[in-house]
Symmetry: C2
Subunit: 657 residues, 2 copies
């Protein structure tokens, strides 16, 4: 199935109206976006400064000063603008729009005559443009600003930033490519590839698609661009002084041409941004070889290198994948941006071929790793999303310094917070997919919303009411513009229903459905207003990990629907490692209104082996026989996404059985 | 009790004759020492070069060239010479002695007119002596050469190296101290302190003892020497270019005056070398405050920060202690040198006060961490001694790159191999202690040996025959020079006998004994030749860890007498994490002659949860209910010290119960 939507609006008109998610999209609008604007302007007290706006002011000649922050600092403003674009698409906000327009004026003022735009190379290393693609993130920053331009254009209809970025993209096209005189290179951090696809979709300009294809296909070819560039540069690096070893090609996913890559390796955000573009290109060009590469990489990454929370990238060294089944819970990385990129990739895979496993992973990453990265107040963030925390170890063991037990206000490298903002403000784009030709509306995510779709069979308005994640009832109100038209609804059958098929009813009557690739299809002639009820069996389960995932041997995680649960010290007794769960006792569920805005908590029988009295001798080891019996106790688990919002303490997702 | 032995030979005359240990002391003599000489001369193929001899040749003006290796490279030659000194004390070897004498001639030629000796500052940074005590290891190298000088003097009676080092020590005394015009500093790596005590004991010169006391007492005082030095140096470091942050004072154990330190922190080898000197000084000066500090540090380190193998220092970041109960098995450091230093410290604590717990720890570190660090051929070494190994993780997860699954030939920083050599070649010094005044001979370690002691009651010859570690029978033949003299034997009651007191017989008759501080005392009038049999209950046990040691929750280790056991992949099935041991089934023991020179292996009933067929869906997670039953299997454990001597594979000390 190919869903080609070039030069069409990027997504159907969807407005989120959901008791669970609306609070987050509102939080992004009312707290995250204004807060991040303050952060970009270095006005958040006790937080690391961003320098992003200041850099643009200096580059525009409005202020004197040194460049501040990382070489890729421009991208933080871009991601913020992108989020603003999504927000303005669903909610008018003249003041915010005005602020954004002023930022865009600043960007315009910082652009060079020839279209080039990058504050680092404007302020700090003029004349050194395009001399260190490996490290310097020039095309990465360009890509983010293109994404912002497209989102802002779609959200407001204003072309100014789009024109700025078309001009830059045209200039990039004149610099890069296989033709003589051009640089036959690509960026060290993939991003421009997926952005150019968006620019193509927004403008209809085929050459942006071709440029994206060039960057993807050139990557990893011999002779190797990064190695040649490194030689030419005198074997230097942007990051450290002096002569450095050649770049790590796996880190940049350029160790092989992309079609020959079979396992997710290297920096995880780079990887998923690249896979996203690959899936886009496979779809838009009907490129079956590229599609097969996407599937292979998807299978490896989600089958062997993904945490149960949808986190990817298990080592903080290079923020990278390590290898199959190496998923330590305590030294984990699972960067927020990586899970967001995984959601991008999953969405593109759904556009390539609707299969529920893609949406399952999207949902897993969204409800757990991504949602958990942000505090309830929208002003504190995790960069690293651990599955096991011992605060003292984070403080005293340098191998765990990267694992923070509390969310931070901002980061020197603050890629994650604005990434959360742009994902949540565009969440409406992830709920549905339509196949115009086959008159099918797919529902991937069960998020309350009002939507309108154009099918060959005519316009359809669809209202979704969802009680997830707390209850399994989802209700669709289907209203075709023309009553009696025939089209299909396809509702995802989540993987967490395993073994218990969801029950469908139409206008109160039980209804059969055809199952295909994990979706329940109802193709029928619809009335003027039909009600489809979709009852998802929602119950807490103990989930175990593949035996090759050594870190989880002998352990289980509590999962309820899309939500992964965890134990926190405040609800249980420390050390959490001394607790175990009885594998055969029922998991009881209880809605606790007082906990962090209300949530279902799960309780279970467990045991504690603590027995301080048996250890009065002060020695660290003793015979098993001297140990006192494990004492029964009641375990209480809360949804993972809520952890770390009360007092600092231990947290465990995986519990010994 | 104070055992003052200043200006007496460092130890009683003891010769090891033991079926288990003689093979190791012979290995050191016949393989390790010759091999390391080749390594010091850069003649080991495919191993990292040492440069140690070459540096001395260049410093002596015999060769032209650049300094090679680390700033502390001289200490490798020193440790080798020290081991040679110990070896020559028990075995004449004219050829080896000749080689060592030539090396000493080289050292003499490299010494400056004023006594200064250090090849780095002679070759690479002349004029920069004593400008970076924090980083540059000058006094550390001096300390190791002093230890070598004392050992070589004791072993051969030759004074040349002793005179060289007295001259250097005299010069050091003129440079350091509280008097005006002297540097009021101390070394970044403690070592000189314990070495000066040895020099005092060898020469009787009180001022060496006083200089040691100065270095110990000055450490950590305000204003802080390392901070002042760093300012004065222009905030630079030996290790990295440019301006650096102030030195980490905990790393160097100089965050507080030593008497105020209550927990083991920082670089673990530095720590235990310092504690060793503290215990020496507490004993020699009758300094009860310093003794109390030693006891506090001992209790923290061995009660809360020690692996079951006697490894210490749980993080490779700074090769350091992290904090109480943080003892991860897979990202472990447990450096070989640190366990050797722990043995030094334990011995000094025994000299301060005979308590079996000191000898228990000494034995634990010796039979497991230290012995396991060397291959059966004496030519390959571990620097890091893990309790859990997954070879692929060592290769592909950068957080575990320091954990090698196979022993290495030599290291760029090769402190550990010569440290093993000097410990094993002086192992005879660790078996006994005598209290001359109270006419007591203490046996700390059950290692077959022939010894002669001088007591107030007269000379005693003692022959020990030990069947450890395989059998629990130890037999002593006691022959006083004058029959009928009265003195006491005190035999350690190992902690692994817990609950089952060892049985003593004298000349075949069961004998009572008085127990004090973990030692069995028999004070009697001895005949011309009496036979004391000491039957230690030796059986495999499952040992559990303190509940605060999160890494070992729900797990047990197999321990038999002094030996910790482990599972290796070759004897069991991978992944080892999927195996568990039945807590209540008997552990069976079997001598396996064919395994690595013969060893008792332990077998037990266990289970495997693998069930590849249940995972055919390719997903990493599934409900607990879908899991197949654990299948029974027979587990086979080998002594930890033998691991990694067959093919590369997984290894686990701690097994799920």
């Amino acid at each position: 199935m190919r869903l080609i939507r070039a030069v069409e609006p990027l997504s159907p008109q969807v407005q989120i109206l959901d008791p669970f998610w609306s609070s987050y999209t509102e939080l992004v609008r009312n707290a995250v976006i204004p807060y991040q604007w303050e952060a970009l302007n270095d006005r958040v007290k006790d937080a690391e400064p961003s320098y992003a706006i200041r850099n643009f002011r200096i580059a525009a000649g409005l202020e004197k000063g040194e460049f501040g922050g990382f070489v890729f600092q421009d991208s933080d403003l871009a991601k913020w603008l992108e989020a603003v674009g999504y927000t303005l698409a669903s909610h008018s906000d003249p003041e915010l729009e005005n602020t954004a327009d002023e930022a865009i004026d600043l960007i315009a003022a910082a652009q060079h005559e020839n279209g080039y735009l990058n504050t680092y190379f404007t302020i700090k290393e003029p004349g050194k443009q395009w001399t260190n693609l490996t490290d310097a993130h020039e095309l990465y920053c360009a890509g983010h600003m293109i994404e912002a331009a497209v989102a802002y254009y779609n959200g407001t209809g204003k072309r100014k930033l789009l024109d700025i970025m078309c001009k830059f993209a045209d200039y990039i096209e004149s610099v890069f490519g296989m033709e003589a005189g051009k640089i036959r290179g690509y960026d060290g951090h993939q991003e421009i590839e997926l952005a150019l696809v968006k620019l193509y979709e927004a403008t209809g300009e085929q050459r942006y698609l071709k440029l994206s294809q060039y960057f993807i296909d050139e990557r990893g070819r011999q002779p190797h661009f990064f190695l040649e560039e490194w030689e030419k540069r005198g074997k230097t690096s942007h990051w450290v002084k002096g002569i450095v070893p050649p770049p790590n090609l796996e880190y940049h996913q350029s160790h092989l041409p992309v079609r020959e890559q079979s396992a997710a390796v290297g920096h995880s955000v780079r990887a998923v941004y690249m896979y996203t573009a690959m899936a886009d290109l496979a779809r838009l060009n009907g490129d079956t070889e590229l599609k097969a590469a996407c599937e292979t990489l998807w299978n490896n990454m989600t089958g062997k290198q993904m945490y149960i929370t949808g986190g990817i990238g298990s080592t903080h060294h290079g923020e990278a994948f390590s290898f199959d089944y190496d998923l330590p819970n305590d030294t984990v990385y699972a960067e927020t941006c990586a899970s967001i990129g995984l959601i991008f990739f999953a969405r593109r895979m759904l556009q390539l071929e609707v299969k529920s496993e893609y949406a399952d992973v999207m949902e897993r990453a969204l409800y757990n790793n991504v949602l958990g990265s942000m505090s309830k107040d929208g002003r504190h963030f995790f960069y690293v999303n651990p599955l096991e925390v011992w605060p003292k170890a984070s403080e005293r063991n340098p191998g765990k310094h990267h694992v923070k037990p509390v969310r931070q206000k901002w980061f020197g490298c603050s890629c994650c917070p604005p990434n959360v903002a742009r994902l949540l403000s565009s969440l409406n784009d992830y709920i549905y997919e339509v196949s115009v030709e086959s008159n099918t509306i797919y529902t991937h995510l069960f998020i309350g919303s009002e939507a309108e779709f154009k099918l060959t069979a005519g316009k359809v308005s669809l209202k979704q009411h969802s009680e997830l994640p707390w209850k399994g009832l989802v209700q669709f109100t289907v209203k075709p513009e023309v009553g009696g038209s025939t089209f299909a609804l396809a509702l995802r059958i989540p993987d967490w229903c395993q073994g218990k098929p969801p029950v469908m009813s139409i206008n109160g009557d039980l209804a059969d459905y055809r199952e295909e690739k994990g979706y329940a299809f109802i193709e029928r002639q619809w009335g003027e207003e039909d009600i489809v009820e979709w009852n998802l069996p929602l119950q807490s389960q103990l989930i175990v990990a593949h035996p090759e995932i050594r870190a989880n041997a002998g352990k289980a995680a509590i999962v309820r629907g899309p939500l992964v649960y965890c134990l926190e010290e405040i609800d249980n007794s420390a050390p959490l490692a001394s607790l175990s769960i009885a594998a055969d006792t029922p998991l009881t569920e209880r809605f606790e209104a007082g906990i962090l805005g209300g949530a279902i908590v799960v309780e279970a029988d467990g045991y504690v082996k603590n027995a301080a009295e048996a250890w009065s001798h002060g020695k660290p080891y003793q015979p098993l026989g001297l140990q006192t019996e494990a004492a029964p106790l009641r375990l209480k688990a809360i949804p993972y996404y809520l952890w770390g919002n009360r007092e600092q303490g231990e947290m465990h997702v995986w519990i010994r059985t």
